[in-house]
Symmetry: C2
Subunit: 346 residues, 2 copies
Amino acid sequence: MAKRKPIPTNESRIPTMADVARIAGVSTSTVSRALAGLPPIPEETRQRIAQAAKEAGYAVNRHARSLRLKRSKVILVLIPNLANPNFPDLLIHIDRAAYDCGYDIMIAHTAIDPGRSDRYVDELLAGSIDGVLLTASYCPPRLLECIAAGRHLPIVRTLSPTPDLTGITAVQIDEVKAAYDVVDHLAKQGYKRIAHLGGPPKEIMAIARRKGWEKALADHGLSASPDLYIQSGFTMIEGQRAADEIRSRSELPDAIFCSNDESAYGLIAALKGHGLRIPQDIAVAGFDDLSFSAVMDPPLTTVRLPRRDMAERSIQKLKALIEDDADNDNTILAHELIIRASSLRS
Amino acid sequence: MAKRKPIPTNESRIPTMADVARIAGVSTSTVSRALAGLPPIPEETRQRIAQAAKEAGYAVNRHARSLRLKRSKVILVLIPNLANPNFPDLLIHIDRAAYDCGYDIMIAHTAIDPGRSDRYVDELLAGSIDGVLLTASYCPPRLLECIAAGRHLPIVRTLSPTPDLTGITAVQIDEVKAAYDVVDHLAKQGYKRIAHLGGPPKEIMAIARRKGWEKALADHGLSASPDLYIQSGFTMIEGQRAADEIRSRSELPDAIFCSNDESAYGLIAALKGHGLRIPQDIAVAGFDDLSFSAVMDPPLTTVRLPRRDMAERSIQKLKALIEDDADNDNTILAHELIIRASSLRS
DNA sequence: GTGAAAGCGCTAACAT
DNA sequence: ATGTTAGCGCTTTCAC
């Protein structure tokens, strides 16, 4: 025989629906329905219950609801690296779009410990979260297993280009084309020796951008000779380092297409440090259009990612996948070439 | 009489502990204990259960556990504005520190809709999350009510300076002193007309930094005449706008202390656009030490926030507040003045 | 229009 | 060393 406390009179208890029910003099089911705005409750009762809830300081417990509903209204966002402004800039819109659909977001930052992402896949598999939004090309191994096993999971990938992975809906831009556009612009400005600062060699994003560079050079009949490719990375530090390497070359390029804005920042800083003028001595272009690119000296030519669209479409797709199990084909969004002083022949 | 499904043979069900128990031929309590690594389970049984869990593709359901334990291991982080790199830069460390303590984080971005934060306070009040980390001086009204009502909640505030709010533990730097240090440095470089680009006038952070500026000027016997205070904001755009205003003044300042790095970026870009050289014509200093400040032209003198310490101490305090209900006094961390070319007399 | 009761998946007394 | 059982707070049939 369990001893039942007749009235739970603990002072600092968190109020539950039962408390509200007691105050309003109704049952918990009525409270639940009233608070959910379900039909067969007369306005008078609804009022009374709302009042009681307020009086009790009641708020619904997320876990009890999620357990019961088998749906949490939480989306997990996997972010490789918050230090790259691209991600927070995207996150702003993701957060907004998710909120507008009634979803909350949990974030998992994988920069330091990629293995960590596997733990979050479990959350999805256990039904603790409703869906996952990947913003990196990295895909947790455990997720790959599940997809390989034919399991259908609400996952959307955006920002980073997809490797040939079926089973994960993607929302992205045409990275190759975007890179092509930058180099095409440089070529049309009359630059002949257009170098490329390549990102991490195995990074799909970096590979795509390099491909665009090569393609544009070919189309303009320009050489993509090995000394025009400089291996670098996605950080300012690596951009700075690349500048030193370039300076050691016998012949300087007259333009450099950097695989992202951050490396362009580092490169430009270092080139200027060596007394070179941008764009008079060397033109530079980047990729991402971070907010600083507009105010730096000189303002940087770059590709603007449709971050807001990406975020909205991604969330919309994820929602559809969660709720209707639909909308699972890929989307390519338009990018925009932003031409600024760093690439203009004077 | 509830009809009990004898064996739940739905194909795509999410596996539960009961499934694992059935496979391993034990009860769910044994599974629970084994998976939690609790003592009285022999190694052999533990192995068998681990094997069964793997086979079933089992992962624990967060909501069921949280409901039962009345503890979610989730911390909510309130972030005013992700577009200000200060916040993602701090978030990196928050995320890391939380993860190391076994906490997950949910974020609530309040830039667009501040009222939204109230909804999240409910989560705390309902026991759906364990604690809240505020990274802004803005405090949700509902939270204020609760604190005023004497309710004790696990909340920590960091990054932004605290207004006179008792009941919320703070982890921060001495903003006034930090601003003082910057201006003191400028004065020691021999600058006489040291202007200040003020942030949003009602923002506590902006007020503190302005106070530091005034104090340092006074200590050096310099004037804080009204024409040396330029009302601006925390964004690049506002920094740019301020440059125009400065140019219209009859007498230019010889140094400008900006209330943050971002406005300094905008200011410098605009001043250079007007043909002024930094620091030869006007020295500039900022506040925050964003990563771009080191590579810009010229590199920017600024105050480095101890973001990592802030994050770690905040999480540590929050954890203590949640688990032991202790450690609720304020912490002041050391800042660091970073002197770079933008403020050096040549 | 409203209430009683079952049950979501888990953990922890309490039994054995 | 392991099983039985109650119950966390909620939603939702089903009955009235």
